[in-house]
Structures are given as structure tokens and as C-alpha cells.
Symmetry: C2
């Protein structure tokens, strides 16, 4: 686990991307964890940028979110771009 | 480390995607390792599907390959698709 203040923009933005896509699917962290066969607390760590996902976790999350790994990352990259352009707080970025 | 026979198609295809994009850039494993600030032997393990990359490693590799993480994964997904459609050996797939 790493502090969210030390990880790269991609890592912290990945957490927000997961949270946004989870919201779009109308899933709680618990339900996403069940679907992805991951621990609920691990989902929370990922969404807060406190844990770094492996490619395997990325694959599980994408499947559980009815998405593809590349789409999950392109969504993440758009968030990184918005942060760079507008310099706004992560939590204030709308989908 | 896991055997390439037990990992998901995405993991093993990711290794081939890295190898293909490295070839397109004209880079040796050693040069890619230097650019990405990763160990040369780890690059070899990733390319053989023997190691599972983290999102941080994916980001380093994409930068070193003049690409984006999402592009590296969409390239990987195309390889997975080709394997599924044609059922051909991983190593025989052309870029």
C-alpha cells in the first residue's frame, strides 16, 4: 500500500475511474467485490489510490464492470488529462 | 511468478504485445529495461507471460514504448481476439 500523495497520476486516477464506472453500473463496493471475486476493502483501497492494481485485477474489474481493460485505462487517462488541464481536485471531476 | 499455461489469455497476450511493440521501436530487452527503469530479466518474464505486470509497470512500459497504457492494452486485446478466432500459436501472430 502506498500513500495517494506519492503515487503517479495514473494510479490515483485509476481509482476514480473505477469509482465512476462502478457508479454508472449502480454497484456498491460490496457488489463489485463479489462480481470481481476481490475483497471489498481492497476495492476501497484501489478507489482511494492506496493500492496498485495488477493486470489480473484490472481484468477482473473490467469484466465485473461490463467493460474492457483498455477502456478502463482510457477512461483513467481522460481523468489524468482533465486533472492536468484544469488542475481541479480529483473528487470534483464529473463523469 | 506463474506458469504461462495457467495465466489468463490477457496476461500471456500482454507479453506478446510488449514484445511486438518493442520490436516496432527497434529496442532490445536491455534498452527497453533501461528506458522503463525495470530489470532486464523482468522484461523477459513479462514477455513470456511468466510475470504479471502492475499498473505502475504498465505505465513505465507504455512510456518507454512511446505509447499509452490504454493502447498497450487494446493491442493486447486484439491479440487475445486473434487467438480466440484463429486458435493459432501465440508466437505465430504477426503485428
Amino acid at each position: 500500500m502506498q500513500s495517494s500523495t506519492t503515487v503517479s497520476p495514473l494510479i490515483s486516477s485509476f481509482g476514480l475511474a473505477v469509482r465512476q464506472l462502478r457508479g454508472r453500473e449502480g454497484l456498491s463496493q460490496e457488489r463489485l467485490a463479489e462480481r470481481a471475486n476481490l475483497n471489498r476493502s481492497y476495492i476501497g483501497e484501489l478507489e482511494r489510490g492506496e493500492a496498485i492494481a495488477s493486470l489480473l485485477t484490472l481484468e477482473k474489474l473490467a469484466q465485473a464492470l461490463n467493460s474492457r481493460p483498455s477502456h478502463l485505462l482510457s477512461h483513467t487517462e481522460r481523468i489524468v488529462q482533465k486533472r492536468h488541464v484544469y488542475g481541479i481536485a480529483l473528487t470534483s471531476i464529473a463523469c
